[in-house]
Symmetry: C2
Subunit: 180 residues, 2 copies
DNA sequence: CTTTGCTATGCAACTATGTGCATACTGTTG
DNA sequence: CAACAGTATGCACATAGTTGCATAGCAAAG
């Protein structure tokens, strides 16, 4: 399970609470690995049991207390060991594509609508990527950690760009089908 | 759960056994929705319970008997109703990207190796798509069902092409990091 | 002064997916 | 003739992920 490793990776940057991590999985690392807050809290408990993170409660006034999680030496070792193992192909599960595959049994105006929504989602993601790139990486001298994040970001950008174009083309192809 | 719908979609084409379906989920529709044979058999049992497929055992000599599944009227209706509902964004879970994100804590030669493997996988998929396109779709007059499959295939092709290029660029960017 | 939203953590139940195994017969290859 | 690959179905267990809920206090907006 790579959720454990994704959490550990986030904690190499700085100690975080479950809440911080959940937000991180909704943005930055969440671009490559999505997880809900429930998943994060559950996995943190396991990591604590396995001794890969240290958890300390921090008193706060006016807000609920936070539990700050710090990666341990064995946590860092676990990340390194994981990095040596081959990685799985991301599993493909795309309803939109299945609907195209089933075009004859599908409501085409509804599909057109859903395709439009999907295009907007990719465009939104693309502009989010750009904002991050401009803000944190453009015209700055970078260390290895930052260079890695920039490579991931760059891959994300070109992927989203291409997906947008591909889906726009599909919209045109769909129009051809409707005209017959 | 869209596995049910993906199976029903396959059965709109022709009645199939679980074994046939499992193979289909390893190729054609499997390009957009992966499922193992166990998942397929389990889901078929549920579809049978819900009256969305009819299952009949066929006697065979020299081979185990097959159970042939045929989509029912309510099965077809279920596909149509599903087509009206908005579809989820495919969930993103890509270990390779997480490893780039964690570049400082990762073994870079191992990552380079894994990146090479991934590039080969995309190239293999691309040529599989091309073979199918040439064999079944090029220079033929197509009905709506076939046009839909061709659109899906065309999207698959441009996506795999772009992914290959993106990952090759990442290989170059990784080299830059290693040289410093 | 009530509603909404943010910070902060987590349980319980459910659905989905993956891994390993079991069975059983046939045809082909070495 | 033994070993392996292919056809065909399926159970049991384990891991992963989703949905809904519960708590609880503060700040800001209407």
């Amino acid at each position: 399970m790579a959720l454990a490793e994704a959490i550990l990776v986030c904690l190499t940057d700085r100690p975080m609470s479950g809440y911080d991590l959940a937000k991180t999985f909704d943005a930055s690392i969440g671009f490559f690995w999505r997880a809900s807050h429930q998943q994060v809290y559950r996995e943190l408990a396991r990591l604590r049991d396995r001794g890969l993170v240290d958890s300390t409660e921090i008193e706060q006034r006016g807000k609920p207390n936070r539990i700050l999680h710090t990666i341990t030496k064995s946590g860092e070792e676990a990340v390194y060991q994981w990095s040596l193992k081959p990685c799985k192909m991301p599993s493909i599960k795309d309803e939109l594509m299945v609907k195209f595959y089933a075009l004859e049994n599908v409501d085409i105006p509804a599909l057109r609508e859903q395709l439009g929504v999907r295009i907007d989602q990719h465009r939104a993601k693309l502009s989010a990527y750009f904002r991050i790139k401009e803000r944190f990486y453009d015209g700055k001298s970078l260390n290895v950690a930052q260079k890695g994040k920039l490579i991931a970001l760059t891959m994300g950008i070109s992927n989203e760009k291409e997906l947008t174009i591909t889906l726009e083309n599909a919209l045109v192809m769909l129009q051809d089908v409707e005209e017959t």
